[in-house]
Amino acid sequence: MVSATSPNIPPPFGEERLGELLGLLPPAPLGWTLAAQELPAARQELDEIVELARADAEFRRRLMADLEAALATAGYETRAELLAAVRARLPELE
């Protein structure tokens, strides 16, 4: 059965109508879905970097001076999204 929290669909459930409703929800692009699914891991990585910067003054100084190089040296993959996310949180480290 469809879960109780589903919106109700008024009958009739004709084949044509079901087909039409099915066609209204094409899959989202796979890359979008995968990026959204990776969100918790990305957030965890970001929090870890911020925490490290708070605890380690030298790492913090290197982050401020050259973000990409500091992250690469620390072993992080310097993806554009990660760089942007860390950059957005730099002000809270100053």
């Binding site: 879960s3 079901l18 409703l21 094409p26 959204a36």
Partner: protein, 185 residues
Amino acid sequence: MSIEVTDAQLVERCRAGEAAAWNELVERFSRYVYAIAVRAFRLTEHDAEDVFQDVFARTYERLDSLRDDAAIRPWIAQLTRNACVDRLRTGGREDPTPAPLEGQTDAAIERLDEALAVHEGLRAISPDCREILDRFFTRDESYRTIGEALDLPAGTIASRISRCLAKLRAELEGRNPGSAPSEEW
């Protein structure tokens, strides 16, 4: 993840930090969020992608503030609606087509709610049926393409679709309560 998992159970597991539950939540609502952005609000793919990522980021960040776990669908719909309206207001829309009126988006989202309920019904029918219906109706594949992909004679696809639709209809009408997904076509 089991097909019996309700939205509320899924939310609870996400809050507990289960990675698989978050993946399932995104999978369950990805089509819905995408369709609201591109069908109801007619955003460009570029704008829709920003909205899509923004909605799931907010969902993740604010899951603790959801008062009724079973209300995740309307909550996500509202987050998506707000994100789309913000996007239209900031003028990020490159498409010259006029933005939809509020009444039009309400009606479109209502239809998408119905469509989502039908998609939820798909989870209760056999994987084979689910796949053939998804390929034909949402991916717009031809009988020939479906036949080749599933290693079935193209001449049998129409009748299989018809039988699978009948199963889906029975599921939605509650004629088949509590039954396990059948492996039969």
